[in-house]
């Protein structure tokens, strides 16, 4: 089997064994982003602090591994489970099924909230 490897500077590609010393090696599978997108819904408020979901179709024929971020309206980007640092809005959860990516949120700001969700779809099925 042919092996393709690129080592970091100063490391002998022919003898290196530590994966951290490779820039790339065909010995190891790579993280592949097969699709990505942004989704910016306008979300109504609920002073009762209840959680809701909003979703976007992922367009894949399988349930994919997904990673997502949330840009809050104060121009800070957080990760799933985090609260906006200035208001009562949480990006509470991320779930995925065979057809859609679902973003959990809790909006107790007292008004509509319009975050920007960024999602990455990876090649590996869950």
């Amino acid at each position: 089997m042919i092996q393709v490897s690129i080592s970091k500077a100063g490391v002998n590609v022919l003898t290196v064994v530590d994966p951290n010393d490779f820039i790339f090696s065909s010995l190891y599978n790579t993280f592949k982003i097969i699709a990505s997108g942004t989704y910016s819904p306008t979300l109504g408020t609920d002073p009762g602090y209840n959680e809701y979901y909003t979703s976007v179709a992922h367009g894949q024929s399988f349930t994919p591994f997904v990673i997502a971020f949330c840009k809050f309206t104060n121009s800070r980007v957080g990760i799933v489970g985090e609260k906006a640092s200035n208001v009562e809005f949480w990006f509470t959860n991320l779930r995925v099924n065979g057809s859609s990516i679902e973003f959990g949120y809790l909006n107790a700001t007292g008004g509509n909230y319009t975050p920007v969700f960024k999602y990455y779809i990876c090649e590996v099925p869950l």
Partner: protein, 137 residues
């Protein structure tokens, strides 16, 4: 022209399922920018507090893909918790969030002791990986 490396027994010339490939130049991947860690001291206070610090200046000029873990003084290199990290064990609770802007990584920690005891004075160790990938938001 593209570069494709398939998994063993798969034909790189005909394979279309990306899960059967080790690498394909058709697909983006994560690209490291900077990684590191440092201790963040929680102020000594007896009341609910919000503590926020600019942790890393990345100056990429866009919102980068990032991942963070934290650890605590009692086991700084033994137990790593993926961020965000919420902790509640009466009478204490702690919320630890991390954000990025186009220039910085910001660490925000909220700690509370119901009985007004001292929850400060210890270090939280933040371990970060920032990638060159632009979130495009």
């Amino acid at each position: 022209m593209k570069l494709v490396i398939s998994k063993p027994t798969k034909n790189a010339l005909t394979e279309t399922n990306p899960d059967n490939l080790i690498y394909s130049s058709d697909y983006d991947t994560l690209k490291y920018y900077v990684a590191g860690s440092a201790a963040v001291s929680i102020p000594t206070e007896a009341s609910p507090q919000t503590y926020e610090t600019t942790f890393v200046t990345h100056n990429l000029g866009y919102y980068p893909f990032f991942v963070c873990f934290i650890s605590f003084d009692d086991a700084p290199t033994l137990q790593y918790y993926m961020m965000p990290f919420d902790f509640a064990d009466f009478p204490m609770s702690s919320q630890n969030y991390v954000y990025v802007t186009t220039t910085t990584l910001i660490f925000r920690s909220w700690n509370y002791d119901v009985f007004g005891g001292d929850v400060g004075g210890q270090n939280i160790h933040l371990h970060y990986k920032i990638f060159r990938n632009d979130l495009g938001v």
